[in-house]
Structures are given as C-alpha cells and as structure tokens.
C-alpha cells in the first residue's frame, strides 16, 4: 500500500474534505466507526433497468447507498448520493432506495434520517421514473416527519443539490450546508439556456456561488447550519441539529408561510445576493464571499438566528 492510500485509509474525518470525498467515504467517516450496515448494497447488483437502452454504463448501487448506522451512539438511517455517477441524479432504483428508507423511518417513528445530498436532479434517461421518485420521496419525508422522525439534509458535494433534490431538501427538518453546497431548482446552465445570458451568466462562478451557494442559503435562512468543508464539521452539525429540530405539524407550515412571506416582503426587490445581505444588516456585504468559515458563522449568527419550527 502506498503512503498516500494508507493516509487515505486512516484519514480522520477532520482532515477529509466533504466536497472531495466519495459518498462511501462520507458515510464511513460521518457515522461512528464500523457502524454502517448497507441495505441492498452493490453486491445485490440492483442496477437501473433503463440505462442499457441508452448503452450507458450501470453502477451496482445505482449511485446511492442507504442503510443504518450509529451517530454519537444513537441509531440513524442514512442515505448518500454519489455525485460522480451521472451527477447523483435520481433514477428509478436510486430513488426507490431513498423512498424505502424514509418509509422505514415513518414506520419506526423515532429513528432520524440523514440524507447526504449530491445531485443534479432527475436522471434524464429515465426522466418519468426519476420525477415520480422525487414526488414519492417528498411525500415520504413528510410522512416520516409527521410520524416523529427527524430528517436532516447535509449538502456540500460536487453536484450540489439541484432540481427535485432542492425540493426534497426543502421538505427536510433542517439542513447543514458548506460553502460549496449549492441549493437551487434550476441550475445556472438551465437558466441561461432558457432565458439567456443576460438573465444568468452560468460562467460567472462568483455569481453562481453567491446566488445558490451555502453562504447565501445560510444568510437567507434557507439552511440551518453553515459548516466547514470537512466530514467532521458535518458530523458535528448533524449531532447539534438532531438535538435542536422539532416536529412537523400545522404550525410548522403556518410558521413557514410567515417566514417565506417576510422574505418576499423584505428582499423581493433585491437584484443580487449582496443587496439582500446588506438589507439584512451585514456590515460589509461585499466581503462575505471571501470570509473564512469561522468569521462567516459569527456574522451569520449575528444577523440571522435560525428558529427550528419554520420548515
């Protein structure tokens, strides 16, 4: 074994970039050591039944792993999307695994679910099955939460959390996001293709990050926790959020309605994220993209406290 691979094998969570890590590495280092047990893993070879129609390579786990493990000594259900396989997109099998996991959480009623998002949205080669899978997952998230399960989303991967993935994220009890964790419905290229480069220049990376990236989502109140790009930071945030978040009832939805109406009222005429941050009271909004993690968290905690009963 080379020095590099030995280091990778023993690299502790604090030294491992979430963004760079594979889904399997994220799960292994996020959970308590040796605690992960996979359901319908790659050895079952439950591949997509549709990719062969397009002569595309299949993956034995269809780009997602789901299973059970422990976090801080407590049982959790966990799902992790592999952003490097077809952009982490939702296909029939990929989506069904997450649906089944959430329905188990619903039936158990108390065991939390961690969803490690890394997705561009629907897998186009099986678009109808993928779209419907997302609809089933949204319903399953709400059923699980209604039954008492907390569903925490962790977002900081290469593919971001786009399309229907963004809608599922919006159904979760809480989200932790790193700077790299972009959350949106329409991706930059999709907006540019449909509406023109004047509407959104997808090659302007600074624009992409400040419109859809983790810092903006945290300052907007769209994400509950902002974390450094390490697996340890996500683990710590997940443990904290599991303590903080509440249940799901009618008041959650009426609170969310008030929260979102206030956002439109306060920021609806802002042309850019920097204008929103300024309106929120960030002293030097233009400097936000360059702020180191700890300084940013201090600024965010100062201007926007998160209440955990509004999503």
């Amino acid at each position: 074994m080379s020095t590099t691979s030995m280091q990778a094998a023993i690299a502790p969570a604090a030294l491992t970039s979430w963004y760079e890590a594979s889904a399997r590495t994220r799960v292994r280092l996020l959970l308590d050591p040796e605690s992960f047990m996979e359901f319908v893993g790659p050895e079952k070879r439950e591949v997509s039944p549709h990719l062969k129609v397009f002569d595309l390579p299949e993956q034995f786990d269809d780009g997602i792993l789901v299973g059970h493990g422990s976090l801080g000594g407590s049982s959790v259900l966990i799902a992790a999307q592999e952003g490097s396989f077809m952009g982490g997109a939702f296909g029939e099998v990929h989506g069904a695994k997450l649906t089944g996991l959430l329905r188990a959480a619903r039936d158990i009623g108390s065991m939390p679910v961690l969803i490690l998002f890394d997705t561009g949205g629907v897998r186009l080669q099986e678009a109808n099955a993928g779209e419907l899978a997302i609809a089933e997952i949204m319903r399953a998230v709400i059923e699980a939460r209604s039954a008492g399960a907390k569903v925490i989303g962790l977002i900081g991967g290469r593919a971001g959390c786009y399309g229907g993935g963004g809608l599922i994220a919006g159904c979760c009890s809480a989200l932790a996001v790193s700077e790299q964790g972009r959350i949106a419905v329409s991706g930059p290229e999709v907006i540019e293709t449909n509406r023109g480069v004047e509407e959104f220049d997808s090659r302007d990376r600074a624009l992409v990050w400040r419109t859809m990236g983790g810092k903006h989502r945290r300052l907007l109140g769209a994400a509950d926790a902002f974390v450094d790009d390490t697996i340890q930071a996500f683990r710590d945030a997940a443990l904290v959020l599991l303590e903080q978040v509440g249940g799901f009832e009618l008041s959650t939805l009426t609170n969310e309605q008030v929260r979102l109406e206030a956002r439109l009222r306060d920021f609806g005429s802002c042309a850019d994220a920097v204008d929103i941050w300024t309106a929120e009271g960030v002293a030097d909004a233009g400097a936000v993209p360059a702020l180191p993690v700890n300084q940013f968290i201090a600024v965010a905690d100062h201007v926007r406290r998160i209440s955990h009963d509004t999503r």
Binding site: E92, L124, A129, M138, E143, H216, L264
Partner: protein
C-alpha cells in the same frame, strides 16, 4: 378543454373559482354536497416564488377553515427560471406548497390533481405530483424534459430518441408514458360530464398510502421501484 369548460363540467351547481393571471383559486359545489377547494396554475404560467406563496396561503387558510376535498388544476410551464426566483429560494417555496398539499391530504382534506394542460419539472412536483390521486385529461402534455433538450444532454439524435421512446415509456414526454410509471392514476373521458367522473372518484378514493410504486409495477413502466422500496423498508424495520 379550457379551464372554464372543465370547471363548468365539474361543478354544474356553481363555483367561484378565479383565474388571477394564471394563479387559480376558489371553490366549487360538489354534487354530493359540500364544497371543494380549487387551487392551481393555468395558462401555462411558470410557477415562481410569488405564485407559489399565494397558493400555499390559500391551502393553509382552507385547512384551518373548511372541509372537503382539494382539487389542484394544472396547466403550467416548468418552475420560473430566473435569477430572482433562485436568489429568493424557489426550492423552499415549491417545497412549501407541496408540503401544504401533502399535509392537507393526510388531515381529512383528500387532494386530487387534475392535469389538463402542460406541466414540467419543479412546477409538476409541487402541484399535481403532490396530490393523492392524479387525474389526466386527454390532451394534457406533461413533460419532464422535451426530446430536443434531451437530445442535447444525451448526445443522441432526435430520431434515435423518438425510436427509443416507442419501446420504453420511461423517459419520453406525455400523459400515457407518465401513466405507465404510476404517476397518473386515471385518465378521464372528455366526452362524459366531469361531475360524474369526479363523484365516482370521490366515492372510491384510494387509500392514503402512496400506491404509485405498485401502479408503476402493474403497468410495467417502473419494473423495479416498488420492490426495491419495499426491500429497503423491510431491512430498515429490522434495524429497530
């Protein structure tokens, strides 16, 4: 059918449904008694933050005040694709609308989607696909992605995609293809008064449990989803 024709055919006893620049809301008198809340999107409106928040407000107000089913009528574009909508967190607004509909459905307000025109992507997920029963009207044209755009992404020619679409319904646009996956429960007959078909549906509403996986298996459009989800659920329960 136009929205006016549909509403007239569904509610011969009258309705007060308004179409406010594509944002639809109001109520209709059911033949079996009581009122149905009607919300939705018309005129192929792209669903953005300003529209979604109005619809969710109507649903929440009705949950607190009314009884009876909720009809979600849909002829939309996809989600509104703009810098402003994404800047303001469109994913939360669409998810919120979907959550309100799903919550209502499980709290005594069964939801029925009525897809009579176009719809796509995020707008589809937060409206029609967030209902318990999705009804399609002939002529509806749901699409997750149109074939020319898909041709660009997949690098396959339009001719090849059209040929593949004949043998597999799983990626091709259209009501019938979606129905095969289990997304659309039933396609109504435009030649029969809609009130009759609505009352039949209300009298025999499916169970609240999401049955779309099983439908997709029975219809052959999604051969694996039902079984995979059930296996994972079973293994999850064993971890208790």
């Amino acid at each position: 059918m136009t929205l006016d024709e549909i509403l007239a055919s569904m509610f011969p006893a009258g309705h007060d449904v308004k179409n406010d620049e594509g944002v639809v809301y109001g109520s209709g008198s059911l033949r079996s008694g009581g009122l149905a809340l009607v919300v939705g999107v018309a005129d192929r409106l792209p669903l953005g933050v300003d529209d979604a928040i109005i619809l969710s407000a109507h649903v929440l107000r009705s949950i607190a005040r009314d009884s009876g089913p909720i009809l979600v009528v849909v002829d939309s574009d996809s989600q509104r694709m703009s810098k402003r909508d994404e800047l303001l967190g469109l994913n939360e607004f669409l998810a919120h609308l979907g959550k309100c509909l799903i919550y209502a459905d499980s709290h005594g307000r069964p939801t029925i989607g009525l897809l009579y025109g176009h719809t796509a992507a995020g707008a589809f997920l937060s409206t029609a696909l967030a209902t318990r029963v999705l009804v399609g009207l002939p002529g509806a044209t749901p699409v997750v992605m149109d074939l020319p755009s898909m041709s660009k992404v997949t690098k396959l020619s339009l001719e090849v995609l059209e040929e593949k679409a004949k043998s597999t319904p799983v990626f091709a646009p259209g009501l019938e293809n979606l129905a095969q996956t289990g997304a659309v429960h039933v396609i109504w007959d435009a030649g029969v008064p809609l009130v009759d078909q609505l009352e039949t549906l209300l009298a025999s509403l499916p169970d609240i449990d999401d049955g779309r996986g099983l439908l997709g298996k029975q219809r052959g459009g999604r051969p694996k989803a039902y079984e995979i989800a059930e296996r994972v659920r079973g293994l999850g329960l064993q971890s208790r």
